[in-house]
Amino acid sequence: MKYLERMSQENSSTAPVVPPSITDGRVAGFSLHLSNFDGPFDLLLQLISRHKMDITEVALGAVTDEFISYIKQLENADQGWDLDKTTEFLVVAATLLDLKAAKLLPSGEIDDEADLALLEARDLLFARLLQYRAFKEIAAIFSERIEREEKSFARLVALDPHFAQLLPEVLIGVGSQRFAAIANRVLTPKTTPAFSIDHLHLPLVSVAEQASKVVEQLRRAGVASFRALIADAETTLVVVARFLALLELYREGVVRFEQMVSWGELQITWTGTASGEVRVSDEFDLPPQTIDEADNV
């Protein structure tokens, strides 16, 4: 996750979210390593079923601990996780932790707003989990039906010439635009071809360079939303570089982040000096080999 090249290949979200372990970054596609699950709900369901617990009477403590331990293994794994995926897990993990900590409001008494928020978070998480489980069960039914269906072959034979000649003049039934849309759908390769992207030389974007632009903008405005800071970004790569630049600036203690709600607008406030040079590490701009070597030292 350290190099822009890799980040650019992943489906980077423009949402300003917590990146995976900035300290290490060597988190992995551990879904392949540990178990065959697809997303946080799937993992949660698997954990619950492994403990032979009904989702409706789940002992949260054990499941939360195990869920968190999976997340922790991110740090030990080899490859990068993309931003989206990590966040998905973090959101669920955070909710679970909250619930565990609060012992799920045993008395049912709601004393303050924090309790209420917790209750809502709990309900929402379990409602979503139950909904996900429902669709997962439906998916199994779909699979059975498709399998059964693939075993019967439709009679699809041409009309005898005798009858064919009686046919009224044919109607294509669609206009040329709709016809083209059908062609588009049918001609799109069915199997996703494995394209080599080696020949694609993405222009490298320097984090340090983007940092200076961000600093300039923030000094002028004082406060800006992330959206505003990336308004003129031509490529996703630039968005990513600016986001990394902001994290660097945060580490330098010259900016403050505010986000009222998750997925909400991220506000950045300039807290550094009005002028003078701001040091930004060139860690992100180094070529991959250099970083590997550096890590081994």
């Binding site: 997303g39 139950l130 269906e149 439709a154 034979v157």
Partner: protein, 185 residues
Amino acid sequence: MSEVELHRCLEAILMVVDEPVSEVVLAQIIEAPTEEISAALRTLADRYEQEQRGFELRQVSGGWRYYSHPEMAPLVEKFVLDGQQARLTQAALETLAVIAYRQPISRARVSAIRGVNVEAVMKTLVNRGLVEETGIEGESGAVFYKTTSFFLEKLGLNSISDLPALAPFLPNVDGLDEILSTLTD
């Protein structure tokens, strides 16, 4: 019209069609009440099964058509070699399930329900003709998706309303509250 006669008419027409024919069209051509046609088709289909025919008559995506019997699949596959598509992944099946029950639906909503990014999976479903775009929401500009008639055919369904009810899989709201209130650590 006698039952034998009616069955004869149905068999003759169904033998020449290359797509499912609706009961209404059959009723028009044969000039018999739709209910009678409907009942006759069902009787005919049942008889074929009892007589252990190698073919079957089934109602799929709004109409009736002859198919080879599923138990004969290994044999028929020797003839119809192509047409075998790669199996759908678990992720694709789950995404398809969400779209089928919540259509029309945007990609973001599917993502929210599944808890993961579904971009690649959606593309696969569109490419395989199971799902198609159905318009764009004015404000957000989000593209909406729905299942296709090929999806119905692929699942052997007559219409979307023939999908198993989702409700039994989802606890009702009262139940949910009760369940949640019993949750303890």
